[in-house]
């Protein structure tokens, strides 16, 4: 069987080991490079620019940090957002991302590499995705003895669209570094559980602290690790290793997480964190019981002990429930709670329900983001049941929990992707390991080896023999190669088509196939920057708050940090009410300009009129008597913008601003809204209290200036009709409001 070949020198013995090590490093580096490279589509197609909405705030905060230093960043009070309230930014953000890129920036500067902070920010996410691939390799290697599993997992993680969606170049968001931290923390945790060492536990806590500083999703770790320990305890797998690693992690990690001002005392006051505390208490009890058990010989005593542990745990659990009902421990945060009670957000927190990434996930999204990993995933989880060591239990819990979360909320596909990559790599590596060996098994020799351990799955009770025929090896490896190639092209296609547009800049194709860039957002924001006073207040729907702050550098009323629902509802009310109602609101909030996004000309569906119902709903939540969703639907329950639109709709400020003068672009009576596919009323709405200030090239952004009070003290509708030369309508008789006579 052992045929000697010239390759043996490099493949066997000690030099073989170092050759493999070298190959491994080269492969990992190549994977990291591929991970970085596949995220650069947007930079190559467009330019080095920050994407979407939230990243603009992170970018602005990073610039502030780099310019003013860490301490003033910590104490930063931002008076240019949430006018007139302002925001204590330093205490209400997760600083991990900004500090990371600040450190990178200063290191590069120190190395005399002249780099712009913007480029650091743009390329941070791809850089960290390379690190994620490495962390993935480490994590998967802990799960399997197979040499190929780790490499496969790293490769999957590097290019899986589920992760690319949040980490392309320019997507400078918390998730950019958080996923790396998530995977690495889990790796350290597994290491800690395996070795039972304080050092690994402390390292877990350290990276957990970093994770807390970077992303609100740290709650996932806070609950997953205790759950893992809890399940291990329930399986009767208590050991000193688990005790040491968990207590070390919990004590240090909680202290670490409390250092972030935004988190503060939440870890001991909030229900989201209570499971960690509860398991901490439980493990002390179990440890004590184990300790006492050594001295108690009688079976009765041991039973008593078990009962005592259960009783104490039950009492503690009841106490926790009582405390949270009575309000001493804060109840679950809305976002987290809505994961369990799926109907909760829609009724109670429309602002959470309104965000598109908080919608449930339809099945195509899973396949789109994970391709063939999605069906390797259950197979991999099944294989974890084979040996079912402590780390495999972790994979199973993570898999079930994360797939539930990803099903409820599109956004949490991100936390599912790592475990899918681990499980899929386990499954695929176990296929490849048996089908890619050159040797042919000898049935006689193997049959004697006998069964492995008896406590395993039914399907794996027989001993492994191997694959006999070369032909079946060829079949399977060829088809797997096809799937892998398909996966790579799928990922590339998805990344290039779906996830690489900056959404600040839109691209379309002209009939001849050439690319046409639609740059209305930046056009409008630069118009604001050039043509308005430095402290002109801009009102817009909250989606655009961060962009206005970042690109136009003007104060805004509301932005994507949706901490004050009432303020957002105020803006919603101003947008959805008549001018007579809106104008006082605008004046009271010092608004100088109102910005709306209108896609009717271009067919750009993400415009404000499509988001309008959410504005109405959120406003209705605060002023149910003044804004009513029902009034915006026709009697047949349709949302119309054409001639049949309801009077409330046609008089709302948003409608008026969107269609103001739009008719003049078309021949009389033929104005069409291309988003809603309907004909717009022939006459332009009349605006009395606002005047058009700017409309971008494709009409996507329209900016209106709020008029000052009239010089002669008239109300604006009179002034406008006077300017138009209309005869003043004479009020027939001065009628006061009708008053009920009461004697």
């Amino acid at each position: 069987m052992a045929q000697s070949s010239p390759l043996d020198i490099v493949l066997k013995g000690s030099s073989g080991q170092s050759t493999r090590g070298l190959l491994r490093i080269i492969i990992l580096l190549t994977i990291a490079a591929a991970a970085v490279a596949s995220r650069l589509f947007s930079v190559i197609r467009f330019e080095s620019i920050i994407h979407e909405f939230d990243p603009w705030f992170n970018f602005r905060a990073t610039k502030y940090l780099v310019q003013n230093g860490f301490y003033s960043f910590w104490d930063w009070f931002d008076d240019r957002t949430w006018h007139p309230l302002g925001r204590v930014t330093g205490g209400t953000l997760y600083p991990g991302l900004m500090v990371t890129s600040g450190v990178v920036y200063h290191i590069l500067r120190f190395l005399t590499i002249p780099v712009d902070i913007r480029n650091v920010c743009v390329l941070l996410a791809p850089g960290f995705s390379g690190l994620t691939a490495l962390a993935m390799y480490l994590l998967t290697c802990e799960m399997s003895t197979s040499p190929s599993a780790g490499l496969l997992a790293a490769a999957f993680m590097g290019i899986a669209p589920g992760y690319i969606s949040r980490s392309v170049a320019g997507s400078y968001d918390n998730e950019a570094i958080a996923i790396f931290l998530l995977v690495f923390t889990f790796y350290l945790w597994i290491k800690a559980v395996k070795n039972g060492s304080i050092m690994w536990g402390a390292l877990t806590a350290l990276f957990y602290g970093y994770m807390v500083s970077a992303w609100g999703g740290y709650v996932f770790i806070t609950n997953l690790i205790p759950l893992h320990v809890f399940v291990l305890l329930c399986m009767g797998r208590y050991s000193c290793r688990v005790y040491i690693s968990y207590t070390t992690w919990y004590a240090l990690g909680t202290l670490g997480s409390m250092q972030i001002p935004f988190v503060g005392f939440l870890p001991i006051r909030n229900s989201d964190h209570m499971s960690a505390l509860g398991v901490f208490g439980l493990i002390q009890l179990v440890a004590f019981a184990e300790f006492v058990r050594g001295f108690l010989p009688g079976k009765q005593f041991q039973k008593l002990l078990t009962a005592m542990v259960l009783l104490t745990f039950g009492l503690g659990f009841g106490g926790l429930v009582l405390l949270s009902v009575s309000g001493i421990i804060a109840p679950w945060s809305g976002r987290f709670y809505s994961l369990w009670d799926t109907g909760y957000a829609k009724i109670h927190i429309p602002i959470i329900a309104s965000v598109s990434e908080h919608q449930p996930t339809a099945w195509p999204a899973f396949f789109f983001d994970l391709n063939f990993l999605i069906w390797l995933f259950p197979a991999g989880v099944f294989m974890c049941f084979q040996k079912l060591k402590d780390e495999h239990v972790f994979v199973i819990i993570y898999a079930v929990l994360a797939s539930y979360f990803a099903g409820v909320m599109v956004r949490l596909m991100l936390t599912l992707t790592p475990i899918v990559c681990v499980a899929a790599a386990l499954a695929l590596s176990s296929i490849l390991d048996s089908f890619l060996t050159m040797g042919r098994p000898d049935p006689e020799a193997l049959a004697k080896a006998g069964a492995e351990d008896s406590k395993t799955l039914r399907s794996t009770s027989k001993p492994v023999i191997g694959i006999y025929s070369f032909f079946s090896k060829l079949t399977v490896s060829a088809s797997v190669t096809v799937y892998l190639l398909l996966f790579v092209s799928h990922c590339t296609w998805v990344t290039s088509n779906a996830y690489s547009s900056p959404s600040v800049v839109l691209a379309s194709r002209l009939p001849d196939g050439s690319q046409h860039i639609i740059d209305d957002y930046r056009e409008a924001y630069y118009w604001l920057r050039q043509n308005t006073p430095d402290n002109a207040k801009i009102m817009s729907w909250w989606d655009y708050g961060y962009q206005i702050g970042g690109m136009a550098d003007r104060p805004t009323l509301v932005d994507n940090n949706t901490w004050n629902n009432t303020h957002i509802a105020t803006v919603g009310k101003a947008m959805s009410s008549r001018e007579e109602v809106s104008y006082p609101i605008l004046r009271q909030h010092d608004v100088d300009y109102v910005l709306v996004v209108f896609g009717g000309l271009l067919g750009y569906s993400g415009d404000d009129l499509n988001k309008f119902l959410w504005m109405v709903r959120i406003a209705e939540g605060i002023w149910p008597d003044e804004v009513k969703e029902r009034d915006f639907f026709t009697s047949r329950g349709e949302y119309r913008v054409d001639d049949e639109a309801t009077p409330t709709m046609r008089n709302s400020l948003m409608y008026k601003m969107s269609y103001y003068n739009y008719q003049s672009l078309f021949p009389a009576g033929q104005a069409v809204d291309r988003v809603r596919g309907s004909r717009v009323p022939a006459e332009s709405p009349q605006l009395n209290t606002l005047e058009e200030a700017f409309t971008s090239e494709n009409w996507i952004i329209r900016i209106f200036k709020v008029k000052d009070l009239d010089n002669f003290g008239r109300d604006h509708s009179n002034a406008v009709s006077f300017d138009k030369g209309l005869k003043r309508k004479r009020a027939a008789k001065k009628k006061g409001p009708r008053v009920l006579r009461t004697e």
């Binding site: 197979a379 049941f385 797939s403 409820v408 399907s459 191997g466 006999y468």
Partner: protein, 326 residues
């Protein structure tokens, strides 16, 4: 002088009392009827209750409770409405604030429905008082929109906004003692049963195959979009407008119930084929049998994956990749 003014005052008071007395009587009549919950009305009673001089609020729900009319919402909301009526009548409220809660069923009040030209049910109308301290100029009834969840809380907050401000009774959901007791009993029973049967149950609970099956089923359900079905309440299948059935919803963000089951089954087949190739086949002793098994499972894998991609192509028209058979 004083005498005259007194006389005048008393006279006017008498006339006022005469005018209001009929309203007061009506109020007392219905008040006494509605000891526990809303009053059940018919057409005549409705007319009487909502007659012009009234010094009380009248909140009337017009519903169609009979199964014939198929008004699911009416039946669903009825206990909630009774809850509001009951809470109000039992609760502490300002002395001069009078509210009568009534229920008018379609069977008893067809005339009212015709008169008000109502096409749908349930409808809640609140008639403000025309006399007394809370009299409104506009005596027209205010109509409540049944949007959002069908809960008493939502309607009650609306009602509170319509009524004058003050200390109004809180909505009081009765504690369901029966349910608490039954839950505790069932729980105790389950614990006892478990303790008694533990020698037989424990091996089942500790069975690895069982847990593997549960986890896999959960994962397959979640990743095939069951939560979406649950949250959005999508239809199982719909017609395609030509008398046929369309199994796959058009559009990337949309799906049907049956569709997700097809997808879940596809994933399951693919996973099972993978498990077979990875775990079972290498353990086969027989040379030819193994060869055959490899071909079968690899073929199943390939065919099913091709089917999955073709289904995905239906959902996403621009998807450029495919595998041969489908």
């Amino acid at each position: 002088m004083k005498f005259w003014s007194t006389l005048l005052l008393s006279l006017s008071a008498v006339s006022g009392v005469l005018a209001a007395s009929s309203a007061k009587e009506t109020y007392q009549k219905y008040q006494s009827l509605s000891r526990s919950g809303p009053v059940s009305l018919d057409s005549a009673a409705f007319e009487e209750l909502t007659k012009a001089p009234r010094d009380y609020y009248a909140a009337v729900i017009l519903t169609a409770m009979d199964v014939r009319y198929g008004c699911e919402m009416c039946r669903q909301f009825d206990p909630e409405w009774n809850l509001i009526g009951k809470s109000w009548n039992k609760g502490e409220k300002p002395d001069d604030l009078k509210v009568i809660f009534g229920t008018l069923d379609f069977d008893k009040g067809k005339a009212v429905f015709q008169k008000l030209m109502l096409q749908s049910a349930p409808i809640m109308l609140l008639f403000p008082p025309t006399a007394g301290p809370y009299a409104k100029v506009k005596a027209d009834p205010v109509r409540y929109d049944f949007t959002g969840p069908m809960s008493a809380d939502q309607m009650y907050t609306w009602l509170k906004r319509q009524l004058p401000e003050g200390q109004l009774p809180a909505l009081n959901r009765p504690v369901n003692y029966m349910r608490i007791v039954s839950t505790v009993t069932v729980l105790m029973g389950a614990i006892t049963l478990f303790t008694v049967l533990s020698p037989w149950i424990l091996p089942i609970i500790q069975n690895r195959n069982l847990w593997a099956a549960i986890s896999l089923i959960a994962i397959l359900l979640f990743t095939s979009g069951q939560m979406f079905n649950h949250i959005r309440k999508v239809p199982y299948v719909t017609g395609d407008g030509k008398g046929g059935v369309s199994y796959f919803a058009s559009g990337f963000q949309n799906q049907f119930g049956l569709e997700t089951q097809v997808v879940a089954a596809t994933y399951a087949v693919l996973s099972f084929a993978t498990i077979a190739l990875a775990l079972k086949v290498p353990r086969m002793q027989d040379v030819n049998g193994q060869q055959l098994a490899v071909f079968i499972w690899a073929g199943v894998l390939f065919g099913t994956y091709s089917f999955l991609i073709s289904v995905f192509k239906i959902k996403n028209g621009g998807y450029p990749f495919w595998l041969p058979p489908f």
